[in-house]
Structures are given as C-alpha cells and as structure tokens.
C-alpha cells in the first residue's frame, strides 16, 4: 500500500514538475505574477510616487494661492539657490546633523550593552524585556510632553532630585540654555529609541551559535576577544540595520524638538523638520517648505543607500 502511494506521489510530482517546466507555462506564470502585483505597484505609485513627484514640482515652482486656484510658476532651482543661502536652513541642517552624530552612537552602544545584559539574564528576562520596551511604546508627542515637565526648571522632577541630593545648587536650564537644550533633545531621543535597538540586537545575539563561544573558550580567547571576534562580528548585520533605521528616523526628528523648545531658545535647536513645518504651516510658504523637504529626502536617501551598500558588503563578506 505504502509503495503504491509512494508511486502515485512520484508520478504526481513528476507530472507537476514537467508541467511547470514547460516554457509556455513559464511565460504565463511570469505574466500572471506581474498582473497580480500590478495593483500593489499602482498603489505604491499613487501613495508614494505621485506625492514625491508633486513635491519636486512644488520645490521647483513659485506657488501663489489665489482666489480659486493654486498657481505654480516654474522657477527651476531658484528655491534651492535661496535655500542654500538661508542661514536658518544651514543652522537647522547643522543641528540635525549634530543630533544624528551624538544620539545614534550613544543609543546603539547603550542598546548593545543592554542586549548583552539581557542575554545573560535567565530569570525575569521577559519582565526586563517588557520594561525596557516601555519608552518605545510611548508615542513621541506624549513622551515629549512628559519630558517637558521633567525638564522644567521650576516644577521639574530632574532638577528637584538633583538639588535634593546636592548635585546642583542652581537649576539646570535644560530647555533654556542654548548649549544644553540640544543635548536635552538628544537625551530624549536616546531614551525613546534605545529599546528598539536593544530588541534587534538581542534577537541577533540569540542567533549566535553557542558552539562558537565554546570553541573560542577552548582556543583560549579572553572575554574581550570573544566579544570582538565572535559577538561583534556576528552582530554586524543587526548593528548596520539598527544604524540605518536610527539614522533615517533621527534625520526627521520633529516631535521632541517641536514640543520641548519649538526650535528655541534663539533657534538653537531648530532642525530641518521643524523648519520645514514652520515654513509650511506658519509662514504658508509651501513651495519653500517643499524645497526643504526635497533636501531632507535626498540626504536621507543618500545615507540609506550608503548603509545598504555597507549592508551588502557585510552579508556578501
């Protein structure tokens, strides 16, 4: 019986294989595949393609709202020329890059440390994981509102505790001192997104075979060597992924800046996203804000492409 069934299965498999391999059917399959993905492609073009095209169109136009119409006058790269001479834009770009360069290394290193600690914990790991994830679960706007109160120099908990334990005598002006305010935003950004990085890196750690650690131990490697040659090497993919996601999101930071400082004091914390928002919704200069958006899009794309190429190098290596 079993032998007969096996024969039947073999025949069926052979027949299916033969059918699938015939060239005409292959062409039909391919055609069918593209037809069924066409709605998704159209959807993407509608949702992503057309808005991006319109953004570029707006960025290269002078937009005037008149009664009953929005007139777009083609000006080419004139808006970009004005933008790169705009000191507020250049300062916003500088502040954005500062936040990226400080926030990301701190959060990735902290995430790695936390992931390694989590990896060592056996009891209560689930609870620890959940607790670690809490900041990430809070909506950024809510988190920003909470931090605004924490940072308040009159009512805030941070200055209160620091004064209570004698660390400071005068309140720290977390949001009013131009030299401190931007770092206050970095702290919030690290607090919010480190959990996400931790979870990704922790998942990567789980995938490292324990045999490698055993083998390294047998070969006489110390803890640092094991970390460097085994753990870090095998976590490269996850680290790159985390860097990519964090960079892309941090380049667009908005919630914390807008809620905590609105770009102040004296525009010392203005970033590209808040400048873009203010230009569009306070100044009603939609063409100029589109120009800023295009620059932000290009920067993000270049950075993402760089990471993807690094990513390929790592995975192929």
């Amino acid at each position: 019986m079993l032998r007969k069934e096996a024969n039947r299965n073999e025949i069926f498999l052979f027949a299916s294989y033969s059918i699938a391999n015939s060239s005409m059917l292959k062409r039909k399959n391919v055609f069918f595949a593209y037809v069924v993905t066409l709605p998704a492609i159209i959807f993407l073009l509608l949702v992503v393609g057309y808005p991006v095209f319109y953004l570029f169109q707006l960025a290269m136009s002078e937009a005037r709202v008149e009664a009953g119409s929005l007139n777009l006058k083609w000006v080419g790269l004139e808006n970009f020329r004005i933008l790169f001479q705009d000191q507020y834009f250049l300062e916003a770009l500088k502040h954005t890059l500062y936040i990226v360069v400080t926030s990301i290394p701190v959060s990735v290193i902290l995430a790695l440390v936390l992931a390694l600690c989590l990896d060592k914990i056996r009891r209560g790991r689930g609870i620890m994981q959940t607790a670690l994830l809490l900041p990430w679960m809070i909506a950024p706007a809510l988190g920003a509102a909470m931090w605004r109160w924490l940072y308040n120099d009159q009512f805030g908990l941070i200055d209160y505790v620091l004064r209570l334990i004698g660390v400071i005598k005068q309140p720290i002006l977390w949001l009013s001192d131009p030299n401190v305010a931007i770092n206050s935003i970095v702290i919030c950004d690290v607090w919010q997104y480190t959990p996400f990085c931790t979870i990704i890196l922790f998942a990567g750690l789980q995938n490292i075979p324990t045999d490698l650690y055993d083998a390294a131990g047998i070969d006489g490697a110390n803890a640092l060597q094991v970390f460097w040659y085994v753990t870090l090497r095998l976590l490269k993919t996850q680290i790159l992924f985390v860097l990519l996601i964090r960079t892309v999101f941090t380049l667009r930071i908005f919630d914390y800046v807008y809620t905590l400082t609105r770009g102040g004091p004296g525009r010392s914390t203005e970033v590209l996203a808040t400048y873009l928002y203010t230009t569009a919704f306070s100044f009603a200069k939609f063409d100029y804000s589109a120009t800023i958006a295009v620059i932000l899009l290009l920067i993000t794309s270049v950075v993402a492409l760089g990471y993807v190429m690094l990513f390929r190098g790592v995975t192929e290596g």
Binding site: Y34, G49, G264, P265, G266, F281
Partner: protein, 446 residues
Amino acid sequence: MKVKPNIFVLSVSIIVVLTFVFSSCAPKAAPVATTGTTMAEETTLETETTLTEQAVVLEVDNDGTLEWDPATVWQKEQFEKMYPNIKINFHETPYKVHQETLLRMASGAQEPYDVWQITDEWLPSVMKTDILMPIDQIWTEDKLALYADWEKKAILDKDGNKVLVPVFGCITVFMYNTELLQSAGFQEPPKTWDDIVLYAQKLTKPDENIWGFVDTEESINKFWHWLLQAGGKPFNEDWTAAFNSKAGVKALEFLVDNRNKYKVVPLGAVTWMDEDQQMLFISGKSAMCVTWAFTIDRAANSEESLVKDKFSVASFPEGPGKTNATVYEDNHYAIPKTIPKEKLDAALKWLDYVSSYEAQVGMLVHEPGNYAPVPKAYDEPEVKEKVPFADLLKVNVENAQNVVPPNMGEVATILIAEIQQALLGQKTAEQSLNDAATKINEVVKQ
C-alpha cells in the same frame, strides 16, 4: 518573443507615471465667479427646489472644538430662533491646520465653507488671495460706532473694503497676587515700571521658587505690549520696522534686566509658553505678571488654582511712554467670494448678528475668557456680574492696538528668536532689534 520581466514592469511604470504627469499639468480649478456660484454650482442646482422648501444650511468654520466655545453655541441658538429658516452647521478645524485649510479652500483644493473664521495669525496669507467678499452693507454707522477705533481699521482689506466681523478676541492685563504683595508690605499694586522692579526684587525668593515678576514672549503680541507702553510703535505705515526705536530698546532692556540684572524672573522662562507663565501664577509662585486676560477666569474658577481669592487686576504700571496702550489679539468671520448665491443672504445675516451689540454682550456673558472689542458692552450689569474686572478690561480694550503685519508668522518667528537671544545675553537689546528689523524689512516686502 520572450518578454523580460523587468522591461514589462518598467513599461507599466512609465505609462502610469506619464498619466499622472499629464494629469497634474492640466489646467487648475475653474476661476472664481464674482457672483459666487462656481464652487457649489452643481450641488445648488441639484437641491435648488428643496432648499427653498427647507432651511438654508450655513457651513460655518470654527477654530477648534465647540466644547471650548459655549458663547458660539449660544449665539447659534439665538440666531436660529431669530431665523428659523437658517441652520448653522459648524466645522471644527484644529488650530494647527487651520491656516492650511483656509488656503486650501481659497485655492479651490477643498470644498469651501460658507463662513470662515480667521485669526490675526492667518489673516495676512488669506488676504493675499483676494478671496474675501466685501461686506460693507453689514457695517452701518450705528454698528461701527459701537466698536473701538482700532477695530474699525482691523476689519478692512488693502482696498479699504470692510471684509471682516469680529468673533472674539483677547487682551492683556496686569495681574498680581494680593497675598504675596501684602506679605512683603505692599498694600497697593505697582504704578510704574520702576515700582515693578522694586516690588519684584523684594518679592523674589528663589529658594522658595517665588518670583517677583514673570514675563514670557511666546507670542509676539506680548512684546508689542511693552513696546507700546514704552511709547514706541511696531511698524511704520509701509510696514517697515519701527520697533527698533529707542522706545523698543528700552522695552526690551526692561525685560532683559528683569531676568539678568535683577533676577526676578526664572531663568528658564525664556522658552516658556504662556501656559507655563499662567501655571506659575495660579500656583501662587508668581507675584506679578502681564498676561492674557483669560488667565483671570482660570485663576478665579479653575480647580487647580491656588490663588482664587488672592489675586487682583490693576491698570498697567506706567512705562516711559506714559500710556495705557496694549494689544488685542483678534479673531474674525469672513465670507469667501465662492459662497453660493443662495446662501449669501443667510451668511450676511449670521455675520450681522454676530457683530451686533446683543451677540457681543452675550459672548462676554457666556464665555468669560473671551473678550469683545465693544467698550460699551463692559458696562452692562450682566457683564459686570460675569466678567471680573470689567471696568479695567474696558479701559484696556479702548486703548488697545491690533498689530497684523504682512507675513505675520515669519515676522513673529524672527523677532521672538532675536528677543530670546537678547534675554540670554547673546546680543544687546539694540543689536537684537536691529538684526530683527533688517530681516523683517525683507520679509514684509514679499
């Protein structure tokens, strides 16, 4: 022939993209008809016969939710009793997207409401579109006479047509904590700027988080208040900057010295919102402040207030300008030229009613915290009963100015940033105001 998959996908993509390219390059919305029929022409034709039988439904814009606008709801009820054939349907537009919504309606990208609500902040950009319909017929001589002089100019467009009616507004007041002042030996509020400094220095106790005088510059109108009190003016007739005069420098130096020299203001107040200033006052930690008048209602009636019977309002301490001048932040209704012909009469009636004496009095009574640019309304017994310090508010309303420069949003952003730099000691007051003036003079020309 074997079709390569990537060429197939590429071809389809190009076709779709080209379709959108050509459709987006097509001519835009139809021009505005002066009789105001274009936008809703199709719908009005469809329902023409039914409209005459049923009520006219007026689509009215409202900033924010009606939950916070009891006076508006009351006005609607009164109006609908007067005109049973007209129904008001409010559209609650969130503040943050309100300007964008108005401009989308102006450009034809969105079905426009019949009556628009426009604050000072958005007024310049809406006025540029030339979308607002002249409504001179509402403004009779009798009605005009009710309003403060500055409001008579505030309702005009660039050609001198009356295009707006006031909905409500807000004004600044000088508030003080009576208990704190008395505990420091002061029985009367300060009468001059020098008195403010004297009082504030004695009242300030940083260890107890008590501050003598707290001011915030989140809104540009706050600085205009000090400028006017110093005897200055914000702009010249052609909207070039006049705030960097000697009076302007004196006003800013007063604020800077309070923070940095006399230390009667929390250092962190540079980036505080008006909300933070109000919170400090109603928590009993701020002895004196110049703030928006709706703080009176908050201090007197809110659950969180610790100063319910411990505060008062006084005339503004006299500055170098020896004037009672202050600022009024205005909020208006207007009718767009796109309104369907059939609804124009109803819209005019609504605006006529809202700007009537009865409606303005009712607004004061039903929503303490909103203010009317009608000085006489503050003398009404029911207003005096519901609105604390009505006499003082009347004086402030009479002496107010409404400052709405072109590109107001950008002007405010530039000036506030420069003021903050002066407060932080990064620039002198004169440098800050001159730098602001240079930039703003370019902006107002755009």
